[in-house]
């Protein structure tokens, strides 16, 4: 029943896409479409979370290739991801009821938005390789159209082009992975794939292809370059969906292929995700720390979180391959918990960035400031999002990081030496990225929302509309609830963990005081609710005592600033000056950051200039050579356009002979 409802809702979403075209430019189009998307997403969410038996639900429809048909399946994993996608989808639709009303060209967004939602849902439900790839490509193309919505901007066109290239590359990798999995017999349904045992070399190759395919969509370094271009280019509710939700669909693809379809893992499978995940986390957060474009910063921070998720999945693979069910379940639970958390707070932060963008027309934090006065409510919820993403207790981001650390602490019992040496290094990368993340969001929030307004637009900003505020507050409440009652989340993930790693962490719901105890009480435990109530009660008690027994008088005056306050807001610390220490100490690891100081000699009246040059090592090291190679080949092939008639005939002859040779040699 839930699967039927889900499929009908997806069909309805596609129908809403058609309706959006029919409604055209009418005034009510935006509200109608987003309202319908919101209710359909809620229906899909309900279908995902409604209690059902442990047996997976399946359905087959006579669509697609005639000899395969379309298979759909709803099991514990797809149910979990379905809930995440539709939670994010409904929040984004609700937000867009307010946000989308100010859109200048709604007809470029409205048809594609429901299609994008439908595509993501279809990926999760597909149960055969053909359907999976079609849905995957549908999701890519509809989101590509959304990135291209504001195509008058040359930057957006470039972003969309890069995105299209990377998405095609990812789909190609997945296509080959499924081709290998299905074999020459061509059993494309997932049930057939699960039954065939793969030889070792083949499954290794599939793992790497899945890493490339899903990684390019999720933003794994070095395939991450499109995220910081495409996520800011799209309208904010779409950015939230792409960053918070679509990357999770990519994670789902990886988990489905590697944990489910590939069969029992070998220990070395864990090493590529662990290494790439650690590099991704570090590089992502370091790049985020130096960004001044708020949405770009958030996109880089998504890359960091994807790295953390891949590290946790890598740990789960390592434990699973050694038959350690409980640690594997812990790492797997941590990964899925972080997937859920990230979808919440990243959507919230992108909504906040969108609200700021709407109110001020600025994405550059260097031209913002003081928004806490002009947009107090947005400032409050955005602060909550910053706290959650910085992994600070008692919010939800901390719980999943804590679980990952607990999983790392179990890994000395892994028998392989290579893993024993790799895991501590990965642990350092995780710890560093967690600390840098807090710094990154202190900077983002401090420069954009605190201090004095750096531009007139920031000074005259108006509070955003109630729809957007409601969507953001809802997400913040969910962040808080997931942080205070993590045991329910862990128990929700348990069925999926049971299915894919063969074990599960102890049931948490029954533990007194709502603590979480992942392994044993003597090992570690955490109680977010208690920590939260301690902080709240001691803070209010202190405030009360201090006001009761100390002075209660409050006077306003100019800032002290060591006696030399300067009224001009440009004397404030800027985002780039805030990031300077980190750029100097850690920056050269991730990218080449150079400061240029042009100081004229005394007597010269031209102004001194200071500039920062930042070069991306990944772009320079990988993509520039590839681009050069492609250009070179194109130049060479271009010569064949200007041959004589004899030349063309010669080419035909050579082609014929070589084809005949191939046929002769082919066994």
């Amino acid at each position: 029943m839930p699967l039927t409802v889900a499929l009908w809702s997806i069909a309805a979403l596609l129908g809403v896409g058609g309706l959006a075209i029919a409604l055209g430019r009418s005034a009510a189009a935006s509200r109608t479409v987003y309202g319908l998307c919101f209710s359909l997403s809620l229906v899909l969410f309900a279908a995902a979370v409604v209690p059902r038996s442990a047996v997976a639900l399946t359905a087959a429809l006579p669509l697609g290739l005639p000899w395969i048909g379309a298979h759909f399946r709803l099991d514990a994993l797809s149910g979990f991801f379905l809930a995440i996608v539709n939670l994010g989808g409904s929040a984004a639709s609700f937000y867009a009821i307010g946000y989308g009303a100010r859109e200048k060209h709604p007809s470029r967004i409205l048809p594609f938005f429901p299609a994008f939602l439908a595509g993501m849902n279809l990926v999760l439900l597909a149960d055969d390789a053909f359907g999976f790839l079609i849905a995957w490509e549908f999701m890519s193309l509809s989101s590509w159209a959304l990135v291209l919505a504001h195509h008058h901007d040359a930057e957006n066109r470039r972003a969309a082009f890069v995105y299209l290239l990377m998405a095609s590359f990812g789909t190609l990798a997945l296509l080959m992975a499924f081709g290998l999995l299905a074999g020459s017999v061509g059993g494309y349904s997932f049930a057939d794939i699960r039954e065939t045992a793969q030889p070792s070399w083949k499954s290794g190759l599939v793992l790497l292809l899945a890493l490339l395919g899903a990684g390019s969509k999720a933003g794994l370094v070095p395939l991450h370059i499109w995220l910081p271009l495409a996520h800011p280019a799209a309208p904010s509710h779409v950015s939230a969906l792409m960053s918070g939700v679509m990357t999770k669909v990519a994670i789902y693809g990886f988990v489905r292929i590697v944990f489910d379809l590939l069969g029992p893992p070998e220990f070395w499978w864990s090493m590529p995700p662990l290494t790439l995940g650690a590099i991704t986390a570090m590089l992502g957060i370091l790049s985020a720390t130096i960004q001044s474009d708020l949405k770009k910063l958030l996109a880089y921070s998504t890359i960091e979180n994807i790295g953390i998720i891949f590290v946790a999945l890598g740990l789960a693979l390592a434990f699973k391959s050694n038959g350690m069910a409980l640690p594997a379940a812990l790492a797997f639970t941590a990964a899925l918990f972080h997937v859920f958390n990230h979808s919440l707070f990243k959507s919230l932060l992108f909504f906040g960035a969108g609200a700021v963008l709407n109110a001020t027309g600025e994405r550059d934090i260097e031209r913002l400031g003081g928004l806490i006065h002009s947009m107090p409510r947005t400032a409050f919820v955005f602060l909550g999002g910053c706290l959650a993403i910085s992994a600070l207790p008692p919010l939800n981001g901390f719980v999943s990081e804590w679980l990952v650390f607990q999983a790392v602490l179990l890994s000395p019992s892994l028998p392989q030496w290579s893993l024993k040496l790799l895991v501590p290094a990965v642990g350092v990368a995780l710890a560093l990225s967690a600390a840098l993340c807090a710094g990154c969001f202190v900077r983002a929030y401090g420069v954009a929302f605190l201090g004095r307004a750096r531009s007139i637009a920031a000074k005259n900003a108006q509070e955003t509309d109630p729809w957007s505020l409601a969507a953001m507050s809802g997400l913040l409440i969910l962040c808080l609830l997931a942080g205070l009652f993590p045991s329910y989340m862990i128990d929700t993930i348990t069925p999926a963990a049971k299915l894919f790693v063969g074990g599960h962490v102890p049931t948490q719901g029954a533990i007194p005081w709502l603590s979480i105890v992942p392994i044993a009480e003597s090992r570690s435990s955490y109680n977010g609710l208690l920590v939260f109530s301690f902080i709240v009660s001691s803070a209010s008690l202190t405030a009360w005592i201090v006001r009761r027994f100390g002075s209660n008088v409050l006077r306003r005056g100019p800032a002290w600033d060591c006696g030399y306050p300067d009224p001009s807001p440009v004397t404030q610390y800027t985002g780039s000056s805030f990031a300077q220490p980190i750029r100097r100490t850690l920056g050269n690891v991730a990218f080449v950051a150079r400061d240029h100081l042009d100081m004229p000699p005394p007597g010269d009246i031209r102004p001194a200039r200071f500039g920062i040059e930042i070069r991306d090592r990944v772009w320079d090291g990988i993509y520039t050579p590839i681009l050069r190679g492609v250009n070179f080949c194109a130049d060479q092939l271009d010569k064949t356009h200007f041959l004589t008639i004899q030349g063309y005939l010669g080419l035909v002859f050579i082609a014929l002979v070589s084809l005949l040779l191939v046929i002769a040699i082919w066994p």
Binding site: R523, N527, V531
Partner: protein
């Protein structure tokens, strides 16, 4: 049950009551070592009382965040300090947070203080927040790696369990030494002591913690100062709990054992404060951009310790 609850309450009151005393004692010891007479040992209490009674002068454009940050910083630090075993292990709420949570609670306190530094929009506040962020971005991972070392040896991240393990398995390990040095470096940096920051200076370009709190006055400043004192006490009691857990009353101990534990704790604080004073007078403040090297050493020590334990459980 009531006794357990009272013991937990006593721990909260104890850390709060002793924190200014520790600060006063350290200042006194430092002054005596420099052959000055120094202020009275209870001077920090007088300072706090005086600040409490003064009016708050708030910058014109300070927001609600600026006004609530002191209490949040204080509450997070206080809760963290109350969760570190000082005179007894296995207190009533000790299981609600482990060492990673305590580290993260201090991270929350720092997060709010750094934001408060940027709220008024002065360049000093920004410089303080920016530098604090840089230090934290190395000190926090170093702390996590040290937690890993200790947790791998004791098989737990719960401080009570760790203290119990250390008491029952007295042994010499290379990784202990690495973790101890690392933890001391982190403690010095996190508390803004010489050579990382100078708590006594108000020289504009060298201060970090003071720069963030520059715009605070009156009761807000008092609460922030008290939080800083609590943080110092927290780190000393953390080092004592892990590396010198003697005298800690075990879980379910009677009143006598706890009284003994309190005396042992005061003694440990005195030793810690004197060592800190001795260290501070024997070294000079380093340039800001040397600090990452200093903290990087702590990070590498933590990593080395973890690696050793991954390779062999007996190192």
């Amino acid at each position: 049950m009531i006794f357990d609850f009272a013991a937990q309450g006593a721990q909260m009151i104890l850390v709060l009551a002793l924190a200014p005393l520790l600060l006063g004692f350290t200042r006194k010891a430092k002054a005596r070592l420099l052959r000055r007479r120094g202020p009275s040992i209870i001077q920090p209490y007088r300072d706090l009382l005086r600040l409490m009674r003064k009016d708050v002068v708030l910058a014109d454009n300070a927001s609600w965040l600026f006004r609530s940050a002191p209490y949040l910083v204080f509450a997070a630090t206080w809760v963290a300090a109350a969760l570190v075993p000082t005179f007894a292990t296995g207190l009533m709420f000790s299981w609600s947070a482990d060492l990673i949570v305590i580290t993260a609670l201090l991270g929350s306190a720092r997060f709010f203080l750094a934001l408060a530094g940027m709220d008024v929009g002065t360049s000093f506040g920004g410089i303080g927040s920016s530098r604090e962020t840089m230090f934290a971005s190395l000190a926090e991972p170093a702390m996590i790696m040290i937690v890993f070392v200790v947790a791998l040896i004791a098989g737990s991240t719960q401080l009570s369990e760790i203290a119990f393990h250390m008491l029952s398995h007295i042994e010499l390990r290379v990784s202990y030494g690495l973790a101890l040095i690392g933890l001391v470096i982190v403690a010095i940096a996190e508390n803004g002591r010489i050579p990382v920051d100078n708590p006594a200076t108000h020289l504009e370009l060298t201060m970090v913690h003071e720069a963030m709190a520059l715009e605070y006055s009156g009761r807000h400043l008092a609460v922030i100062e008290l939080a800083a004192a609590l943080k110092l006490l927290l780190y000393i009691s953390l080092i004592a709990c892990i590396f010198a857990p003697w005298g800690l009353a075990p879980h379910g101990a009677d009143f006598r054992a706890m009284t003994f534990g309190v005396f042992a704790f005061v003694l440990k604080l005195a030793v810690g404060g004197s060592l800190l004073a001795l260290f501070e007078i024997s070294t000079a403040k380093m340039r800001v951009f040397r600090v990452p090297d200093f903290l990087g050493a702590a990070l590498m020590l933590g990593l080395l310790g973890t690696l050793l334990l991954f390779v062999s459980r007996s190192l």
